[in-house]
């Protein structure tokens, strides 16, 4: 058991209730190339508007890496290709049929198939897009054999879903998926389990299991990698989420890309929270419709720290298993820095709320102040349970010092690992954005 002491649990109202919500199944689904960070794909469409598509049938491929296919999560019809700046594709929208019809990729015997066969199946079926590579958190490179593969089986982020709920009903597929992953790496498949992890995780076979405890970000896979087998320069490891392991398992046993994913619906601006069984890229419209307490809200695909803001009829991200709905923080506050008009979570002991550490807070998306130069020190270190000096790393990025970035461990972190730094920052510095600019720099030049 690895006990992490540094970090901070942001306690919010609006935790997901145990149990499934009864919401209508969404009509629209979307594939968004921008969900892939780092080496985001340049999509080349297989399908045009009006074309029929089966679940698991490729919709587009990456021009830079034509082997990587992005597959439809449902069967239906391509109804829209949304374009953004410079006519780049923002989203390919698919309208679902009443029942899901799968494209058959052909099952593959996990025990006897070769690594090449396994890779081809993953690439062609779209499941490959769920594998992410560190450093950079980008799409996994099919030409590379990763040193290890890591799966975090618990989540400590604000209002995080319970992974035991998410994996419910997919236990056998999860184990099958782990067996597939073992084929892909030259090293081990590592599971990081938390205090509440169920037996599907703790008793998984053919993997190395490491128990973690501690406040957020103990559940982040990056933190777990750092403590199990840190990423040195030149190392490549892959990560994915437990539900996607199960998806891969089902692909091999049944031959279908079944994009069903259980999502946590969270946030105290919702009348009802809980879990919904839906599919990758589903529209959140049917979930938030008639479920909002107020009109002025922010919908976030993912958690409140690292998620992506989406419209009330937007779509879940490719890697997200959580929807967070919070009050919009766009109101000015009279002398808010001195006499806050409502209680808010803070790591700072200048708020007396530190005396009651178990309080859960209503929050909004206000910045609570303006950006300033770095003044405080050792704030970030308190929330990063890694042997990394975040403030020095961020500064080395700001003056583009490659050697220093590498030396200080830029390969070991991605945005989610330093997201709490951004939350606690007195100077309101955009830490995640700065880190990504540094990662892009070393990825392109290194």
């Amino acid at each position: 058991m690895i006990k992490l002491s540094r970090g901070f649990d942001i306690k919010l109202l609006g935790k997901p209730e145990q149990g499934f919500l009864d919401v209508g199944s969404p009509q629209l689904y979307a594939l968004k190339p921008a969900d892939v960070i780092g080496n985001g794909p340049i999509p080349k469409l297989h399908k045009a508007i009006g074309d029929k598509v089966l679940a698991g049938e490729p919709v587009f491929f990456d021009k830079n890496n034509p082997r990587i296919q992005f597959a439809s999560p449902v069967s239906g019809e391509v109804v829209e290709v949304r374009r953004g700046a410079k006519r780049a594709i923002d989203a390919v929208v698919i309208s679902a049929d009443n029942s899901v019809e799968f494209h058959n990729h052909g099952a593959l015997d996990i025990a006897s198939c070769s690594r090449e066969e396994a890779v081809e199946l993953l690439l062609g079926s779209g499941a490959w897009t769920l594998l992410r590579q560190r450093p950079f958190n980008s799409l996994a490179d099919p030409e590379v054999t990763p040193r290890d593969i890591f799966v975090s089986c618990f989540d400590t982020a604000p209002l995080a879903p319970d992974h035991n709920m998410l994996i419910e009903g997919k236990e056998a597929a999860f184990q099958a998926g782990l067996n597939v992953l073992a084929k892909l790496t030259s090293g081990s498949v590592h599971l990081g389990v938390g205090p509440g992890s169920g037996e599907v995780f703790t008793k998984a076979e053919g993997v190395k299991t490491t128990a973690f405890s501690g406040p957020h970000p103990a559940g982040n896979v990056g933190v777990q990698i750092h403590h199990i087998a840190p990423i040195n320069k030149g190392d490549v490891v892959w990560t994915l989420k437990p539900q996607d392991v199960a998806l891969i398992g089902k692909l091999f046993t049944d031959g279908v890309f079944d994009a069903e994913r259980t999502m946590a619906v969270t946030g105290d601006e919702l009348k009802r929270t809980g879990y919904v069984k839906t599919r990758i890229g589903a529209s959140i419209k049917s979930i938030v419709a008639d479920n909002l307490k107020h009109e002025s809200v922010s919908c976030i695909s993912g958690n409140a720290l690292t998620g992506t803001k989406i419209a009330a009829d937007g779509f879940f991200g490719l890697y997200d298993d959580q929807l967070t709905v919070l009050e919009k923080g766009d109101k000015a506050e009279f002398l808010g820095w001195l006499l806050p008009s409502y209680k808010r979570p803070s790591m700072s002991r200048t708020f007396l709320s530190f005396l009651r550490p178990n309080t859960e807070y209503h929050v909004n998306t206000s910045n609570h102040g303006e950006e300033r130069a770095f003044v405080m020190s050792q704030q970030y270190e308190k929330v990063v349970p890694m042997d990394v000096f975040p403030q020095y790393l961020i500064k080395s990025i700001l003056f583009s010092d490659f050697e220093q970035m590498e030396g200080l461990g830029i390969y070991e972190v991605v945005e989610e690992d330093l997201a709490l730094c951004e939350f606690v920052c007195t100077s309101k510095q955009p830490i995640q954005q700065i880190l990504r600019s540094g990662l892009d720099l070393v990825r392109l030049e290194g």
Binding site: L12, R372, G407, L408
Partner: protein
């Protein structure tokens, strides 16, 4: 509140792009954001901690209030002691406080007025928001001045500190040396007779002082004559208790161990200042003090080491100056080394220097310069650890 909101809503268009007062936007912005935390939505993380720089800086200002209030009373108390009235501590409270307030408040007003004025002008010229750093510096400067300091000198020193000590380096967060200490060191070297010696620590017309009143601080007495001399002036109440309460001559805010201690408590409980630095300065001071006393090389003959902590400006400097997050070391290990060395150097300057008995100002400025070097070695050790892990 609604009133302010309407007022700001009415004048804001003039300051925005295209308005006739457009170039003063950042001056207006500073006032607006002081009154209202703007309704900006968070980018990146969708939620943010309630803390911001205004609140952080204001916490430090609050921590200095006890020292300021006590300082006001004590300026009056020392004055009345000198002229031989209300010599008992409890007597004439209001007279003493009012006398002190009249001496001290103008210094505060001048320091804030000059410093903030310069910050606003520079922010408007350079088109960036006004930073909150001077909220603290503007209060620190008066507290480390002798009560007899001429106001023009405060203005000059503040201007020097803000322009050359801070803005020349890029403003709050970028300065290498502690801004308030630059103001003090400026006067110390430019106008030494106003900043040292026996005559500057008690306000009032010296011709009215009672015969035999020297105005020397306990530190000055002990420096020249050691423990015997300090014992001899006990008639003036220079005993341990008076140093702890702070009923002794000295700079405006530095005399009371209790008042500074309350400030330290506020800073430590709120977590705004580093306990690592505070503790290690005290440890360094005690260690150096003990060594110098045992080796019998100190000017402070027979003064035990712990007395150095409560005499002079040691505690004030430790709590409010050494802990300045911008100019101190920024790594945890670095903070221990930085604080410890301040203690050592402060004592070297205090106890072994034949010219003047106070060392914290120079010790802290010296370590401000070396803080990045200390951090450099701590950071390098992290880099080396990472390299050796990969082998």
């Amino acid at each position: 509140m609604k009133l302010f909101e309407n007022l700001i809503g009415k004048v804001k268009p003039h300051f925005e792009e295209g308005g006739k007062l457009e170039k003063f936007y950042y001056g207006f912005d500073a006032l607006e954001t002081f009154l209202f935390v703007p309704g900006h939505e968070s980018h990146g993380t969708h939620i943010k901690d309630g803390i911001d720089l205004k609140r952080t800086m204001f916490t430090v200002v609050i921590a200095m209030i006890p020292a300021l209030l006590f300082g006001m009373w004590n300026v009056g108390h020392q004055h009345f002691l000198a002229i031989g009235e209300f010599t008992a501590m409890a007597d004439g409270f209001m007279d003493k406080f009012m006398y002190g307030a009249i001496k001290v408040l103008p210094v505060v007003v001048v320091a804030y007025g000059v410093g903030l004025g310069i910050e606003f002008v520079i922010a408007i010229i350079q088109k960036h928001p006004v930073n909150e750093g001077f909220l603290v510096s503007g209060m620190l400067i008066p507290l480390i001045m002798p009560p007899t300091i001429p106001l023009w000198m405060v203005a000059l020193a503040t201007a020097f500190a803000v322009i050359l000590g801070k803005e020349a380096f890029g403003g709050t967060g970028m300065n290498i040396l502690n801004v308030a200490l630059i103001a003090r060191v400026f006067i110390f070297f430019a106008y030494p007779t106003y900043m040292s010696g026996d005559a500057v620590w008690v306000a009032g017309d010296a011709s009215l002082f009672v015969d035999g009143f020297s105005g020397a601080t306990p530190l000055g007495v002990a420096y020249l004559g050691g423990a015997e001399a300090l014992a001899a002036v006990k008639v003036l109440n220079y005993d341990m208790m008076s140093m702890i309460i702070g009923t002794i001559p000295g700079s405006i805010g530095e005399t009371s161990v209790i008042a500074v201690g309350i400030g330290a408590l506020i800073l430590l409980v709120s977590g705004v200042a580093s306990w690592r630095i505070m503790i290690s300065v005290v440890v360094g001071t005690l260690l150096a003090g003990t060594v110098f006393t045992l080796a019998d090389i100190s000017f402070f003959q027979g003064i035990p080491a712990y007395t150095h902590v409560i005499m002079g400006s040691m505690l004030f400097a430790t709590v409010f100056m050494a802990t300045d997050p911008v100019t101190a070391a920024q790594t945890n290990t670095g903070k221990f080394i930085y604080g410890f060395l301040i203690g050592i150097f402060g004592m070297i300057i205090r106890a072994l220097n034949p010219a003047y008995p106070e060392g914290w100002m120079l010790a802290i400025l010296l370590m401000n310069v070396f803080a990045p070097t200390i951090d450099h070695f701590v950071v390098q050790s992290n880099i080396k650890r990472r390299v050796s892990r990969a082998l």
